[in-house]
Every structure is written in structure tokens, then in C-alpha cells.
Amino acid sequence: MLLIGILYSPQRVKGQWKYLKNHPDVHQTFVPIIADVRKGTVQIEADGQQVALGAMVDPAGLVVSKSSELKGDIRCRVFDGKLYPAKVLVRDAKHDVALLHLESTDNRRFIPVRWRNDTDPTVGSWLVTPGISSNPLSIGIVSVNSRTIPHERGFLGVQLTQVAQGPRIEVVFAGSAADVAGLKRNDIVIGLNGDPVHSRREFINQLAKMMPAQEIQLRILRGNREEEATARLGRMEQVDALETRFGVMNSMGGELSLRRADFPKAFAHDSILQPKQCGGPIVDMDGNVAGINIARAGRTCSYALPAGVIHALIDQWKGKPEHQVFFQLPADTQSPVNQSP
């Protein structure tokens, strides 16, 4: 056989930027389409950093967004630049959606977004993601129709052996969730989320049901002392040594959301988004909100929860007396209330 060598080298593309699909020449056509919805879009900051976008669902200042990005001291900036402190009222872990309430001292009535209210958009349909300014953030098309996005395991990053008291940690991978949580070699896990843990197998089975970005409470035996630790489950590729070839490719083209799978119903689209641009509306060519961007999931893929899923969640929340007080719109209202500030 002939001996042939190959090494890898990045191919760089230079020039030709004027032909990009996300070029301003293309974006300008989408500007009038998002003119209304961007006024119901909010930019969410946590501890001073932009972490997500959100969609105004009620003039009382109720916003839905991506739950797993919302930590710490939260403020929301609306289209006119005003910044409001906000608090999380409800979190739905299954869909990774949170409902926030903007605490306005000026009794402002906010402009809610206008929803698409028939079917989910189908493959090939244009979509545009607005921010709070007049220009779109990204455009794309539906890549795969709505379906269930399967479960993906969260990764703790330890190796375990079984000892008499329970699973004992042999190795903590550098950079993993376990490392960040301060777990150490020889720690013995005796509790998970308040329940006792007896065996390695049982612990692994429990962890297998959990997902990235999920927080777990661990009770550990360190020497003679019992201690508590909180770990936020991550992904295998956060550990350099465990990065896969597909993982590398998938991340070539930008950062991805930590929680990016396990959605009961979502459609995939090819808009290029940053994780901090998720949580807000994605708009169809009638200028209606077709869904909420819920994850940047890969080099080729972003996911959005269809409008119907969000409506069902809102109706569910409205059904609970403790939240009812916050809403101004009746449960079946989907049209905008055009109140100016």
C-alpha cells in the first residue's frame, strides 16, 4: 500500500462576507417583521451580565425565559432602555422555562408579545430572533419539525467504588461538576437530594435520570465528618480529557447552552444564536411569536419551544391562586394590548 500522510489544518474562509445570510442587507428585510415583537422582548441580566432574553406575556410585567440561565440578582431591560429588577415566580424544570415578574415602581403597563396561534411552523419556514433593538439578532429556517428532544445525562465527573458505607469517590475529574462542588477523593456519598444513598449502583441510576444544569444536593462522609455539597451537573466535554471528536466539531462555531436536551416538544432551527440570546421570542413572517428559543444545541442547531407549549404553561400557572394575582390578561387572551408606557 502506498504510504500517505495527512494532518489536520483549519481552513479559513476570508472575504465574501457580503454574501453571508446574516449580513445587514438580508437582516434589513426582517426589521419591519419584528417591529412589534421586539417591544415585548426583554434582555435579562444576572449580577450585571446579560444571560438571556425573555418574552413579555402579560402587561403586568410577566416574562417567560430560559430557567437554567437565571441565577443571582436579576434585572430586565426593555426596548426603551429602562431597567427593572425582577424576581422568579415559578420555574418549570421539565421545559426549562421560568416566569419572572418585573417590579416596576412606575406602575408601567408593558407591551406583551403577539403569539402565533395555529400550528407549529414547518420545515423550511423563515424565523427571525429579535433582541430589544430594531435589528434582528439572527435569522434561519425550521430544520426539523416539532418533536420530543430525548433525555441527555448530566455529568458529575467522579469514579466510584463501593465500600461498606456507600459509594466512595476514587477520582474527581478536573473541571467537572464534582470538582467545582469541592468533592474530594475518598469522600463517601451517603445522601442525594435528601434521600439516603447506600450503593454505587443506586447512586448511578439516580444520576442517570438527571440532566445537565440540574443542581443536586449531596451528603458526604469526609473522614469522620458529614458534610453537604451542592453540585450543578455538567457535561462530559467540560473535562478536557473526555472531550470527544464530535464534541469538538459541535462547539466549533460558538458556545452552547448547558441545558440543551430533554424537551417534551421543540422544533429545531438553524439560526446562529449565543446561549445568552436564548429565552426570548422567535418570530414567523406574520410577525407573530412562533415559540421561545430554549437552547443553542450545536453548531447546526437551536431549539425553540412552540407557542402552544408556552400557552399551556401559562394557563397552568394562571390556574394557581398564588400566581393569579400577578396576571392582568384572562387565560385565553393571545392578542397584544398595545399600551404605551
Binding site: M1, I6, Y8, S9, G298, R299
Partner: protein, 383 residues
């Protein structure tokens, strides 16, 4: 395979302390090593190799018959796909056409499973010719499984490949084809007739074929076009290799090949590459470059042009297993001085897979020696 790769890389990082990764704690949904498709630059123009397999000569796909199946396309629609849409009406017209296009093309975009990898392909004739990427098909006369989006499965045989341009052909054997339930296929177009800025659609199976997911459709524009390469901003990732790039007319104009740094660098093989040497592909000729099985080090070039600096180490590859890191500068390769990256490429080219080589490397201010067992390129890059 996946687990094994993880073990290997874990061993490197932990200097032997972590002999295994607990399967219960690893995400295992990437079950296949995705056909290696990323960022390779064909630096070497190598002597052709023909593997004399001589399968029965096959008839040309009936191109004319296929042409008849191209989407009904008015001049208005064709023009729309040549420039940025100017208003909502044009957006709606493009949208309506893209929806129809996806419906027409998706059924013919197949998953291809070979022994150790997965890629995509597109059926271009009713008698079962499938275009794919050279690094998916590899050598001629191998058995592959073809997975159709409608749930049907066929076995296929790999035919010819041009590894210089990364083009490969397969065929579903005729006796499997049911006359009452014919194969879906789409016509091929002309990649010399493309324009910069033209809108096109990329379809494939990113991450590998999944039976609960239809082919994934992405839109983008033609950024660069050459004789052997098309670059678009239709995003691609591992598993897409071999899938079709489609024009507004619903014709295959390219085949997905590889990606570069940056989300705009998505590289496709122009369709005319297949047309040019059709008979050779059908005959089972394999030529033009490193076929899977050639020597493989597993490093990417850094921007630095003056020295052989390593930009990225392919995870799980031979260099990674031996502890080579980003930023290392190769000074000598088995005593031979190395001045730049292409000299490193040539040095690897002269090796045989399995051979152990000694690299003198500069890492920040220290010099060290790394011994690497040269691997083989392709699906078994991790061996």
C-alpha cells in the same frame, strides 16, 4: 469504540491514574464515532492509487429522467434565490418554495452506516446510486447499510472515491429495489452554473442518522466557489458528511465534506467533480489522496507560519494519547529538523501506521521529547 476512546484520553490526562471511566456516569448517546470530517486541508497532492476491485460495470444514472423531476421553478423563484429578499412578499415566496423543496428532497437524503462510522448520502437514481463523501465511503467494495428517512434499510456496496476532493460513490444492489415501492431520488445539477450569494439548502443527518428525526434542513448562501470546493454558510457538523447541498431547483449541487474554524466555513464538494470522472467512480477506482488507513498524527496547524506549532490536538488521536498539547512546537521528527508545519506533514506522510516516532518539542520555555505511535487516518483514527 466510544468508551475505548474515552479510556485512552482519560489515561493521558490522569497519567495512568484513571484506568476507566465509569460507564454509568458518561453520556453515551453519541454511540458512533462520527465519520471524521472536520477541518482537513488536503495538503498533499498524492500519486493516484487505484485499488483494482473491478465490480460489474454499472449503467450511468438516468440523468435525463432525473432532470424531469426537478422542481417546477418559475424564473421569478429562481431569481429570488440569487439575492437578498427585499420585502415580506419575497420572504413569503422563498419560504413557500423552501418548504416544498424540503418535502421533495428529504426522502432521498439517507444515513450511511459503515463498520465504524456514520455519514450521510443522497440517492440520485432509481437504480440506487448514492453520492457521498470520500471519507465516508473509504475504499471500494465494502458493505454499507443505507437508512432511508421512511424507515427502509438497504445494503449497499462502496464504489469509487476521489480522496483528493473527498468524493465517494455507493450503490444499492438492484435486486433489493422493489418496483412497487421505488427508491426516492433527486436529480443532479451543474455546479459550474452557481453564483456567489446564491441561496442554497443543506440537508443531512448531523450527529448520525436517528430514526426518530427526519433529515435536518439548513439554509445559507454561496460564499466561495472553486473547481473542487464550495463554501457556504449552511452550517454542517459531523454526520452530515456526504449529504447534499441543494439548489432552488431541487438539484444536488454539492456534497458536504468538512468544516473549518468559524461557523461560516462549511465546505462542500461541487457536484461536477462526480460528473467529470463518473466512469471511474462506477468502476470502483479509488484515487487522489490519503484514503482511510493512511498514517495519522492528529494535530491541527496553528496560525504561526514560521514554526511547526500545534494549534489543536485532535481528541483521542495519536498525538493526544501521547500527551501533545496545543502550543507545542515540533522541532525534530525522528532526528530530522522540522521548520514549519508542511515539513511536519511530509514527515508524517513517510511513516507507516503503527510506527513509533520521536518528536523533539518545545513547550513554553522547556524542550521535551514525545514518543508517538502513528495511527491510521479515517474511521479508525483512534486506534
Amino acid at each position: 469504540m466510544q468508551i475505548r476512546q474515552l479510556k485512552d484520553s482519560a489515561t493521558v490526562a490522569k497519567k495512568g491514574s484513571a484506568q476507566s471511566v465509569l460507564p454509568g456516569l458518561i453520556r453515551t448517546n453519541d454511540r458512533f464515532i462520527i465519520a471524521c470530517f472536520t477541518t482537513f486541508l488536503l495538503l498533499l497532492d498524492l500519486t493516484a492509487i487505484a485499488i483494482a476491485n473491478e465490480p460489474d460495470p454499472q449503467p450511468n444514472p438516468n440523468v435525463n429522467k432525473a432532470r424531469a423531476r426537478r422542481l417546477q421553478l418559475s424564473d421569478d423563484i429562481e431569481n429570488l434565490f440569487l439575492a437578498p429578499p427585499r420585502n415580506r412578499d419575497e420572504l413569503l415566496a422563498m419560504q413557500e418554495h423552501t418548504q416544498r423543496l424540503s418535502k421533495a428532497v428529504n426522502p432521498a437524503v439517507v444515513g450511511i452506516r459503515l463498520k465504524n462510522g456514520m455519514g450521510s448520502g443522497v440517492i440520485i437514481s432509481e437504480d440506487g446510486f448514492i453520492l457521498s463523501a470520500g471519507h465516508v465511503t473509504g475504499r471500494a467494495n465494502k458493505q454499507a447499510t443505507v437508512l432511508l428517512p421512511d424507515g427502509r434499510t438497504f445494503s449497499a456496496t462502496t464504489l469509487g472515491a476521489n480522496h483528493r476532493v473527498d468524493a465517494g460513490l455507493l450503490k444499492i444492489s438492484s435486486e433489493q429495489i422493489d418496483r412497487d415501492n421505488p427508491l426516492p431520488f433527486i436529480p443532479i445539477g451543474d455546479s459550474d452554473a452557481l453564483h456567489h450569494g446564491q441561496w442554497c439548502v443543506a440537508i443531512g443527518h448531523p450527529g448520525g442518522f436517528r430514526k426518530d428525526r427526519q433529515p435536518t434542513v439548513r439554509i445559507g448562501r454561496m460564499l466561495l466557489q472553486g473547481e473542487n470546493i464550495i463554501v457556504t454558510d449552511c452550517t454542517l457538523v459531523g454526520g452530515d458528511s456526504g449529504g447534499p447541498l441543494v439548489s432552488a431547483a431541487g438539484e444536488v449541487i454539492g456534497i458536504h465534506s468538512r468544516i473549518g474554524e468559524g461557523i461560516e466555513a462549511n465546505l462542500h464538494i461541487p457536484i461536477n467533480v462526480f460528473q467529470r470522472d463518473w466512469d471511474r467512480y462506477v468502476k470502483g477506482d479509488v484515487w487522489g489522496g490519503p484514503s482511510p488507513g493512511g498514517p495519522f498524527l492528529g494535530v491541527l496547524e496553528a496560525e504561526n507560519r514560521n514554526e511547526a506549532e500545534i494549534g489543536r490536538v485532535v481528541p483521542g488521536g495519536p498525538a493526544a494519547i501521547s500527551g501533545m498539547r496545543r502550543g507545542d512546537v515540533v522541532l525534530r521528527f525522528d532526528e530530522k529538523p522540522i521548520e514549519n508545519f508542511s515539513q511536519l506533514v511530509s514527515a508524517v506522510a513517510e511513516c507507516e501506521p503503527g510506527q513509533v516516532v520521536r518528536l523533539d518539542v518545545r513547550r513554553s520555555t522547556k524542550n521535551l521529547v514525545i514518543e508517538i505511535k502513528i495511527g491510521s487516518f479515517g474511521f479508525n483514527a483512534y486506534n
